[in-house]
């Protein structure tokens, strides 16, 4: 239990704390009951607010996250609710943001920091690789860094250069970092809460093109479910999800590629082919068991991701699945990834991104005549 932040309310007879609690419960009951259409952005925003209510050592900071609520509005309203000491803007300096978060985590806080776009996290790379990832190990377990680095990633939004990169491979390759990436609205809530609760540093990759995707979700139910799971010491970390069951081949995807894989499975179904879609969810720790169970069942697999294919997370998935499932495979495992080119300008992005057609072409290539 981290040292509590003393509230000024404790000085003036808990009046202010009561006001805050009232505001929080008002907000909670203002949520209609039962599943409602909720965007991933809203789910993430609610997860942050709920985490900040639950634990006063949770802090949010980064560029433009305060009054503006973040360029994607993920931190909308947090400063108004929790004050400038708990959700605040920093000077424009990514290494500074991550480095300061390391120090705050060393000294009892749980920072949830935002990198504005994934390619803008690079100035912080040394702090992430040399310190965030290594501190627990360097101190033989004495120091924990319970921090979350939120990174909007992926393309498909027609963004200019540097706004559409997929950098998850760098973090997945770095020993000591956990890498989570939700693909659904419910997972946006659940996995961000779990990332914040984790005593390990988590790079939380948010598929920006899915921020405005909507799903029928009951936020209150998710909140309770998380509470119960947290009390029981349970977490969905390391568990991939079967996003769509199937029998003929397995599509393995994460983040922004999951809806694309699902669309490909829909299209394939119309042609009589049953594709199972696995949503990896946590790249690190990776769920070998679920993925391999699927591939052993179907015997064929395609891995889909936006990032350049060479030396990528997709490469890793192929390597470990073929190591474990070789004798069950009817065909080599294929990858459908971005080309090994710098992410293109908006008008050319459609040629780069793994789309339904390219996925179905890869599926067709899985040696069905055998």
């Amino acid at each position: 239990m981290s040292p509590t932040i003393t509230t000024s309310s404790e000085a003036n007879g808990n009046v202010s704390a009561a006001t805050a609690r009232a505001a929080a419960s008002a907000a909670a009951s203002a949520e209609a009951s039962g599943p409602q259409p909720v965007t991933m952005a809203k789910a993430l925003n609610t997860a942050l607010a709920d985490a900040m209510h639950a634990d006063s050592s949770v802090l949010v900071f980064g560029e433009d996250v305060g009054m503006l609520g973040g360029v994607f509005r993920i931190t909308d309203g947090l400063t108004a609710t929790f004050g400038e000491q708990r959700c605040f803007d920093t000077p424009l300096a990514e290494s500074g943001i991550v480095g300061m978060a390391v120090g705050m985590a060393i000294n009892g806080m749980r920072p949830v920091i935002e990198m504005q776009f994934d390619a803008f996290a690079y100035p912080a790379f040394e702090q992430i690789i040399s310190h965030v990832a290594k501190m627990h190990n360097r101190t033989k377990g004495a120091v924990k860094l319970p921090m979350v680095i939120r990174v909007p990633y992926g393309g498909g939004i027609g963004g200019v250069e540097h706004h559409c990169d997929s950098s998850e491979s760098y973090y997945a390759h770095t020993a000591g970092l956990k890498v989570f990436t939700p693909a659904t609205v419910a997972d946006g809530y659940r996995m961000l809460r779990e990332a914040i609760d984790s005593d390990d540093p988590v790079v939380f990759m948010e598929p920006k093109k899915l921020y405005w995707s909507k799903d029928l979700v009951d936020l209150a139910a998710l909140r309770s479910a998380h509470s119960a799971a947290a009390k029981a010491g349970e977490s969905s970390e390391g568990r991939a999800a079967v996003a769509r069951p199937g029998t003929d081949a397995t599509l393995i995807a994460y983040g922004p590629s999951v809806p694309t894989a699902l669309a490909a499975a829909e299209a394939a179904a119309l042609e009589g082919r049953s594709l199972e879609v696995i949503d990896v969810r946590t790249i690190v720790p990776f769920d070998d068991a679920t993925v391999c169970e699927s591939v052993r069942k179907t015997g064929r697999a395609v891995v889909i991701a936006e990032a350049h294919g060479f030396a990528s997370v997709s490469s890793e998935i192929v390597a470990r699945v073929q190591e474990r499932c070789f004798h069950f495979l009817a065909a080599p495992i294929r990858r459908v990834t971005g080309f090994d080119i710098p992410y293109p300008a908006p008008k050319l992005e459609k040629y780069y991104l793994p789309g339904v057609d390219r996925i179905l072409d890869a599926v067709d290539d899985l040696q069905w005549e055998n």
Partner: protein, 406 residues
């Protein structure tokens, strides 16, 4: 300063206690804000290389830059630590020559900085050292052998930073300054009066993290003392190639904080300035920058050949400014140190040297499974697999060497 969950609470961070201290100094001394922030025209020096206390008017102090002389008890404690520190530096270098350690970046000649950095802090304060600051960490109270673990080679860190409130000696330059800022920020949010000392060298002031750390500390008005040991070289690159600022202390004003230059071989001046800086920071002045003018008497490490880039005459010049000698003379002349005291202190220093020889000469058993234990707080199936693989490998090695032994 507390964190309030009440969103109607006034934001106190922008109330600018900085301006209060600043306007106070401006009013009191009739100086401008920049005069307060810029370092005094001369470095602060109180005891000269010959061990003589300089007259008050010649110590470098000016309106807005005044530092009371430290008390005798503190100075005696400092001298003891200087002698121990010097002995530690030289013992560690000897252990490298004997092959017991791969490398030791010695602070020989910089002991005044090392000792003052530790002695100015209170128990609840934090220190963030670089790879050259082993003596400072030891002076702060960490067990000498634990401090040297990082060079003994059995692990990357030998002590618990949370227990001692000292960061592990940092190898990548300057990055620890941001950690210092974060520790201070967290303490401030909880209303604690912690002060954090962030140490770095002259070379480190060129790194981007130096800029970011000072800027963050100033913008958030944090109790961080940035203590720059200007020892004139970053391996072979001299100060003139790192910066052409009038001094490193002059960089402070760019961030809206005060900076001061001190004779880095004069532990009296160092304690005077650092003690005052820590007090000001604790009272809410915001961050401060102190540049200690010293010299790296030996090469970067044993692996470096300093004859390739500097003159013996320059080194000899600085030998005459030795921090330990001048303090011995000063205290002896003041009647605070006699032969008995000197002997007692030498004995203590020898005891530490023995502790180091013993601790660094023993063959510390390494447990290969430790490689997997501390990567995460909550481990992963993949790490368990790899741990099992290594265990199996080692078991087979053990079995086959047993076989071979038969």
């Amino acid at each position: 300063m507390t964190i309030s969950a009440d969103h109607t609470a006034q934001d106190q961070t922008s109330k600018a206690p900085a301006e209060d201290a600043l306007s106070e100094a401006v009013k009191k001394f009739g100086i401008r804000a920049e005069d307060y922030m810029l370092p005094a025209r001369h470095q602060i020096e109180m005891v000269d290389p010959d061990g003589r206390l300089k007259p008050e008017g010649e110590q470098g102090t000016e309106p807005g830059h005044e530092y009371p002389l430290p008390g005798d008890e503190e100075l005696l404690a400092a001298y003891e630590q200087l002698v121990v520190g010097r002995r530690v530096n030289d013992q560690n270098s000897a252990l490298v020559r004997q092959g017991r350690m791969a490398v030791y970046p010695s602070s020989h000649g910089q002991e005044a900085c090392q000792v003052a950095a530790a002695l100015c802090l209170s128990e609840g304060d934090w220190m963030f050292p670089t790879y050259r600051d082993a003596v400072a960490v030891m002076t702060r109270g960490v067990d000498p052998v634990q401090v040297m673990t990082i060079f003994r080679g059995d692990w990357h860190g030998g002590f618990d930073p949370l227990k001692h409130k000292v960061g592990i000696q940092c190898t990548p330059l300057t990055t620890q300054l941001l950690h210092a800022v974060g520790v201070a920020h967290a303490a401030k949010l909880r209303g604690e009066d912690t002060v954090v000392l962030a140490m770095c060298g002259d070379g480190a002031t060129s790194e981007g993290d130096f800029h970011e750390a000072l800027n963050f500390a100033a913008v958030f008005h944090l109790p961080v003392i940035f203590f720059v040991q200007n020892n004139k070289y970053a391996i072979s690159v001299p100060l003139a190639h790192q910066s052409v600022a009038p001094s490193l202390a002059h960089k402070a004003v760019g961030y809206g904080m005060a900076g001061e230059r001190v004779d880095g071989n004069d532990v009296v001046a160092l304690l005077a300035v650092l003690d005052r800086a820590v007090k000001l920071a604790r009272e809410g002045s915001g961050p401060l920058l102190i540049e200690a003018n010293t010299y790296r008497m030996q090469a970067h490490t044993n692996a470096d050949d300093d004859t390739r880039y500097r003159q013996n005459s320059e080194v000899a010049e600085w030998r005459a400014k030795d921090p330990v000698n001048r303090m011995r003379t000063y205290l002896t002349d003041r009647g605070l140190l006699d032969d008995d005291g000197e002997a007692r202190i030498r004995e203590k220093a020898e005891a530490v040297a023995t502790q180091l020889r013993d601790g660094l000469s023993e063959d510390v058993p390494v447990d290969p499974q430790e490689l997997f234990r501390h990567v995460f707080e909550k481990t992963t199936p993949q790490l368990k697999e790899q741990s099992a693989l290594l265990a199996d490998e080692l078991a087979r090695d053990a079995a086959s060497s047993q076989e071979a032994g038969k």
